[in-house]
Symmetry: C2
Subunit: 143 residues, 2 copies
DNA sequence: CTTGCTGCAAACAGTTTGCAGAACT
DNA sequence: AGTTCTGCAAACTGTTTGCAGCAAG
């Protein structure tokens, strides 16, 4: 899985004539080792603690590249930071966000996906992507 | 409809001991007269053009109040600005966003709403709200 | 050697906040 | 009169950009 993603990025880099650099390797490694939904800041700190001297800007720029390469995806939750999640090819998931403890549970529902396609078609839209977040309290925070 | 919203805000203001001010009246009027999904900046400019001397900060502060009062709702699309939409009580709608021309079409789907409830229940979540956006190209931009 | 990449700091955009004066009640 | 609200400007936060030096090809 991780290897596959590294290859994805290598292919992308090659096709674009991008260079392979120490920083990109490190950022990719650490990104792949994170849980879902890392914010740029979280990733930056994680990188900083293990490898000195990688700047904010590089992390931002590199995550944009990962997004273009198709192995990461930007998500906007309600916390004023851009977060990135891993793209699992062929798989799509949505989020249940707990407003109590900010935990995030992922889910997938084929019926919803199908309905979305129907709705889009009805309005003449050609779907590129979608996102759905359900906000509420998780079982722990309800108590 | 508009009258009802004004009353909603008056009730809210009364219950909180908030004062009724010229600015809040103007901002409410103009907010209610806008199409859906106004950004703060758009609203600010609209207000500025018809009524001199209302500051940015007041618009921000007042929109937060409207949100607390339950007559507006924050939405985050992919353009780096917070937008506000009107809350139609009892009604919920989601968005089809055209990535070509940024137009937004609203829709509602009961089956999806029902499925969301089921999914939340399955994970022990108590739903507070949700949002769903489908991104794609509208019929005009597809050509 | 050429060109792309990085780190830094400065620039930016959107939003929030502190405060003195204005305006409700 | 007593507070709350406003406008302004300054502060903040997350993100982007310009540029000189560094490094990959």
């Amino acid at each position: 899985m991780i290897l596959k993603k590294k290859m994805m990025f290598n292919d992308f880099a090659a096709s674009r004539g991008l260079r392979s650099t120490r920083q990109r390797d490190i950022i990719l490694d650490i990104f792949l080792s994170t849980h879902q939904h890392v914010s740029v800041e979280e990733l930056y700190l994680k990188i900083k603690s293990s490898n000195q001297g990688i700047g904010h800007a590089t992390v931002y720029r590199t995550l944009k590249l990962f997004t273009e390469a198709g192995l990461a995806r930007e998500i906007l939750l309600h916390d004023g930071q851009t977060r990135y999640e891993h793209v699992m090819t062929g798989e799509h998931h949505d989020h249940l966000v707990c407003t109590g403890c900010n935990s995030i549970v992922e889910f997938e529902d084929e019926t919803i996906e199908k309905l979305q396609k129907e709705i889009a078609a009805r309005h003449g839209f050609q779907i590129k992507s979608h996102k759905m977040e359900i906000y509420g309290l998780c079982s722990i925070c309800r108590k």
